[in-house]
């Protein structure tokens, strides 16, 4: 391994001199974090809603206010007829409509079932689900109040007390930011090393390099080593911004997190190297990397829960290093757990890194055919 040093030094100088790439590698985490952190909210609130109140009584206004008070509905307009309400939803200016029939106060007073109709634009499942749940909640609360008054009971017979652990405020950034550390590392590091060997091939420097006694392992490790540092800088940037801009807690052992991140970074770089041995040109390397990015975002559990996926896709997800690193990230940062709970994920990441480096070394040929 004595030729690792010169190889590392050379890669480091070249990396430092390539200001554009370096700038992009530091810029991407900042931009991504701000975009994801500010823009993406999984708890849908303030759904634009139109109201068709056919009874126009205090009790109907009362129930509309109850809807608005959930925070999930934002009343944008009151309309006079069914056609107008449909038109609002069809145009997309409203995603929900509340219809209170003329009989509503009468039924309520009589003690028969009074109905309110809630129409939801389900072409967007995420916001329609939020609307459905909130609407059901409004009725539930009202029912309980009316029933307990009728039964002359001060207390409810039953209540579930849900305590959201680890993210009591149910804040999206707490979920998104730790995941983003892993996603950013995957995207940038795989791409940058996927280019590494093909770039030397295209520039004609690979031929000069492979006619020297350098071993394949020295070459591969020397190539990825400087980028381990870049990966750690990226991670630190995201964590600090997450902490101070988005107030994401850093609950657990941060030193342990860096240790696991080191292994994950090596695994990602090794994956890039592997891509590099499969392709002939930088353009192919770029395409192959992008091809790889999508399953990482969709199947790793970064945005969509893996439990909801068919088993087949859960398996594919399990083949991605990111899936396991996300568990470690969220485990350490949000839950504050350690090796006892996460050793399996850590072992798997170590296995990924080792196998991918071995595969790349095996595939790489020190010949020109």
């Amino acid at each position: 391994m004595r030729r690792f040093g010169p190889m590392f030094r050379k890669e480091f100088i070249q990396m430092r001199r390539d200001r554009l790439t370096l700038g992009i590698m530091v810029g991407i985490p900042i931009i991504q974090l701000l975009l994801f952190g500010f823009a993406i909210q999984t708890d849908v609130r303030h759904i634009p809603t139109v109201v068709l109140d056919e009874s126009r009584t205090p009790s109907s206004r009362d129930i509309v206010a109850a809807f608005q008070n959930t925070g999930n509905f934002r009343i944008v307009s009151h309309v006079d007829g069914r056609d107008a309400l449909d038109a609002w939803i069809a145009r997309g200016d409203a995603q929900a409509g509340i219809v209170i029939p003329q009989d509503f106060p009468r039924d309520l007073a009589r003690g028969t079932t009074a109905t309110i109709q809630v129409i939801v634009d389900a072409s967007d499942p995420l916001s329609s689900q939020a609307a459905l749940a909130a609407a059901a909640g409004v009725a539930q609360v009202r029912n309980l109040a009316i029933l307990s008054a009728a039964a002359h009971r001060g207390a409810l017979p039953l209540e579930t007390r849900v305590r959201p652990r680890y993210n009591p405020g149910l804040r999206s950034p707490n979920y998104i930011v730790p995941g983003l550390v892993g996603v950013i590392l995957t995207i940038t590091l795989v791409l940058v090393t996927a280019m590494a060997i093909v770039r030397e091939r295209e520039r004609g420097t690979l031929e000069q390099l492979i006619v020297t006694p350098i071993t394949k392992t020295e070459l591969m490790l020397g190539k990825i080593a400087p980028y381990v540092g870049v990966g750690l800088v990226q991670m630190t940037t995201v964590l600090l911004l997450g902490r101070f801009v988005f107030d994401v807690p850093l609950t657990g052992n941060v030193a342990l997190l860096y240790g696991v991140a080191f292994v994950f970074i090596v695994a990602s770089l090794a994956l890039g190297l592997f891509v590099s041995t499969l392709v002939r040109t930088q353009q192919q390397a770029m395409q192959a990397s992008f091809f790889f990015v999508l399953p990482n975002i969709l199947l790793s559990g970064f945005m969509f829960p893996r439990q909801a996926m068919p088993v087949f896709f859960q398996w594919i997800g399990a083949l991605l290093p990111l899936t396991h690193f996300l568990k470690v990230l969220r485990g350490i940062l949000l839950k504050g757990v350690g090796v006892a709970e996460l050793w399996q994920e850590m072992l798997i990441l170590l296995l990924f890194a080792t196998v991918l480096i071995a595969l790349s070394v095996r595939r790489f040929r020190k010949t020109l055919d």
Binding site: M7, R9, K10, E207, Q208, I210, T212, P213, T367, D369
Partner: protein, 250 residues
């Protein structure tokens, strides 16, 4: 180990790329300190031959012994004993002259004072002193070629392979380059060089003419010229090559 009076020996060396035979049954012996020129038009198999001798391409048939090592058996060991310059500039344009030399010295296993000492030696041998901090990409053709040679010489290889080293280099720099080669050969380095230029071929101790993957003439420049009646090497080259092509067509 083979005969110490021979540094390169090929036996029935053959290389195919699919149905195309790039090098066919090549038999050559080259002595230490010899400057051997491989001549021939594009596609005649010169570069393929050199790449096989450097362990960059595996022979399809036959073998070659370079500096005592069989290219088929240990292509990696060969790389410690040879220097190689490809026709395309193969150094890092985004590194300076000094950084390139430092890198290759390190890759060839030189460390500490011996690395610094050897770099200083090569720098003064090739007159690179005033270019040390210049980025390699900004050098002219002649200087790039000297830097390429400097990096290939770091580990004092007994055999040096130069694949069209003077392509794109101005005449004055070419002349300087060839006197450097003569110095190296006088010190005992075996030099195998491919070229298009007949004046350069004339400076080789021996030349081999290649056409369509095989050797059509071998000997000193004078001997090769004699084969077609004492004309110039250039005439011999053209006549022999046409003759070969006619034979192939027939």
């Amino acid at each position: 180990m083979t005969d110490s009076a021979v540094t390169v020996e090929t036996r029935h060396l053959t290389r195919r790329f699919g149905p195309i035979v790039a090098v066919r049954d090549l038999n050559l012996t080259i002595a230490p300190g010899e400057v051997f020129g491989l001549l021939g038009p594009n596609g005649s198999g010169k570069t393929t031959t050199i790449r096989m001798l450097c362990g960059l391409l595996e022979p399809s048939e036959g073998t070659a012994i370079v500096a005592g090592v069989d290219v088929r058996e240990s292509p990696d060991l060969i790389k410690e004993r040879i220097g190689y310059m490809s026709q395309r500039f193969g150094l890092y344009e985004d590194l300076t002259v000094a950084e390139n030399m430092d890198f290759f010295a390190g890759i060839y296993g030189l460390e500490g004072p011996s690395r610094r000492g050897r770099i200083a030696e090569v720098v003064s041998f090739l007159g690179l002193n005033r270019r040390l901090n210049q980025l390699a990409g900004t050098l002219s053709g002649g200087w790039k070629q000297r830097l390429g040679l400097a990096c290939a010489l770091m580990h004092r290889p007994p055999v040096l392979f130069l694949d069209e080293p003077t392509a794109g280099v101005d005449p004055a720099a070419r002349r300087g380059f060839w006197s450097t080669i003569a110095t190296l050969a006088a010190q005992g380095t075996t030099v195998i060089v491919t070229t298009h230029y007949m004046d350069e071929a004339g400076r080789c101790h021996r030349v081999g003419l290649m056409s369509q993957g095989h050797l059509i003439a071998l000997g000193t420049p004078d001997e090769v010229a004699q084969q077609v009646g004492g004309k110039s090497l250039e005439d011999a080259f053209i006549i022999l090559q046409e003759r070969d092509e006619q034979e192939q067509d027939a």
